[in-house]
Amino acid sequence: MRSAAWRISLWATLAFACGTMLVFLFLHRFVAADIQRRTDAWLSGEVEVLGDVAGHTPKDALYGAVVGEVAELAAKEVPNRLRSESSSNDSVFFLQAGRDGSLKLWVGAGDGVANLKAIKANEILPDRPRDLNVNGFTIPFRVASIRMDDGSHIYLGLSERDELRVLRYLRNRFVGWWLLLVLFGFGIVFFTTRRMLTHVRRISEAASRIGHSDLNTRVPTTERNDEVAQLALTLNGMLDRIESSMHQLHTITDSLAHDLRSPLTAIRGKLEMSLSAATQIEQNEPIVSAIEELDRLTDFLNKSLDVAEAKADALRLSRTELDLDELLRVMIDLYEPSMSEKGTQLRLRSAGPLKIEADAGLIHRMIANLFDNELKHLPAGCTVTIQLRVDDDTALLVFEDNGPGFAPEVRRHLFEGRVKGSGSNGHGLGLAFIDAVVRAHGGRVSALNRDEGGVYISVALPLAAKEENLPVAH
């Protein structure tokens, strides 16, 4: 569940981050282009003014000083200027190159040789400023030029330092805010998704708890009217319908049980009365066998209804804590004499107390059924091995014998009920009943023939949800 919230918020944040980044890149390009356009306009204007001044100033001793002064003044009006604390002007240079390419006039930091060299290496056309990398400067210059009447060239260069600084400032500011926004967005998305998913998780937890027999509870609902709340309402509606049909089934089986049991009770009572009235043994015999038949019929009725309800997942359980180990020992105590009378050996391998939460009555009957099965179907001289252990967080009960195993015609329909081997005298509900009870408790049964012969029946039941089942030396 945590991973879903993570995934959703990660993807949402990624999309948001990429989107804002793209928008910023576009803005950045636009701003950079605009700054350059302004720089170029200034450069072109200034170089023209300087060219004009240089053209009109007589080429005397004062020429250098006059033009230099004008160039210095121009340098003070540099656009995008951020800092002016350094008095030495290293962001602008003015250079006049003679027709022969010699340095005629230089205003700027240094001696201008490197700049001239760079200018010579790159052709700079008038009215088309371009970038120029100068040896000794890490930041390139933007350089504009103009051709004088006397064949010399005037170059005006502006360091791109300030432009780059503006852009860097913009980027830093953006990245800071962007990170903050992305984190904030991630937090919001994560929080809301998790809140929503927590509700979904609560619903699914409640739904799984409702499980087999506990149909009274409902999944939690909220006051909001979103899809999740809708889901909870839908689930609850479904549970209402299931509960009502379950209730109907119970009513049917209950009234069926009642309608059959009342006459059975009356018949049994009458039989018992006539039994106590009968004085001769010959009169007793038919009454006794009638009572026995009646008891078998009652048992069949009980099991049939249990199997029917369990198949509809409607078996009612009243769970208590139950120690399977203790129960098995009592059962073995009960069945051992009958087994040894038949020449069957019983062996128990148990790892000690094993607690489950189960309906004691049903579990008793289920395990008695397992023993009855072995007692009825095993020929003399066989061994039944019973194992009880914890396996994969379930209580695993295994009945194994070295008898003839299930007959082929029975094997395919083991759990369906009303199937029995030709030699069996039961009503064939045994395994169906076992399966029904175990499934009602959320466990599972498997029954098969062992490769080396004999029957293997394993019953897996959920453990009680307590730490008492830690292995105990026994």
């Binding site: 049980a257 049991r261 018949i267 049994r268 018992e272 008891d295 009960l334 008793h364 008695a368």
Partner: protein, 225 residues
């Protein structure tokens, strides 16, 4: 002993009334909850048998109503329902008992006796049980017949003790399973019979009068005379 029987099925009511009167109870019978309430106000009863499915009222509601009216006698609940209702379980913890239909008369009588015994202030519980020449020492868990100590397993001792406590009365297989092994099951094999058979082999030696009798179709009885 005055007993109030509340059962709507006429057949069952009639047979129960006859059998209970034979067993020595004075029976007041009611077919519905209203009659039962009237009978309960007219006289006092030592014990009640209440069927859960009454025409005019749920059996549990009737019991609760009677309790409100001050009837404190123990109740044996008869149920034709399949599983034991949680509410019945609740009542059972309050000192009452239940029995599912159909039942053996012997079991009904045994449960009635148990309820009456539970409710009566018990005097000094004897540490010895004696039936004819059979003697049980409950402290040392030892049984002897005609002075001869019997070699019994602990389980056989419990079984014999149960038979002795009900000496002269019929106990059924399901009662034995419930009281000795603590399980309400109906095995379709002869497990209980084999236990009785073994016990009989030890208790009824050669030349002695057989004490443990089998009543086919009903159960067993330990003779007390």
């Amino acid at each position: 002993m005055r007993l109030l029987l509340v059962e709507d099925e006429p057949d069952i009511r009639r047979f129960l009334q006859t059998s209970l009167e034979e067993a020595g109870y004075q029976v007041g019978a009611a077919a519905d909850a209203k009659t039962a309430e009237n009978l309960a106000t007219e006289g006092t009863f030592d014990i009640l048998i209440v069927d859960l499915g009454l025409p005019d009222k749920d059996g549990i509601s009737l019991i609760l109503r009677l309790r409100q009216m001050g009837v404190s006698a123990p109740v044996l609940i008869l149920s034709a329902r399949r599983s034991v209702d949680d509410r019945v379980r609740g009542l059972e913890q309050g000192g009452d008992d239940y029995l599912t239909k159909p039942f053996a008369l012997a079991e009904l009588l045994a449960r009635l006796r148990n309820l009456l015994k539970r409710n009566r202030p018990s005097g000094n519980e004897s540490t010895r049980l004696r039936v004819l020449d059979l003697e049980l020492d409950l402290l040392r868990r030892e049984a002897s017949r005609s002075g001869q100590v019997l070699q019994l397993t602990p389980q056989e001792f419990v079984l014999l003790e149960y038979l002795c406590r009900n000496a002269g009365r019929v106990v059924t297989r399901s009662m034995i399973l419930d009281m000795v092994w603590g399980m309400r099951i109906q095995p379709d094999t002869n497990v209980v019979d084999v236990h009785i058979y073994r016990l009989r082999g030890k208790v009824d030696g050669k030349g002695q009068q057989p004490l443990i009798r089998t009543l086919r179709g009903v159960g067993y009885v330990l003779k007390d005379r």
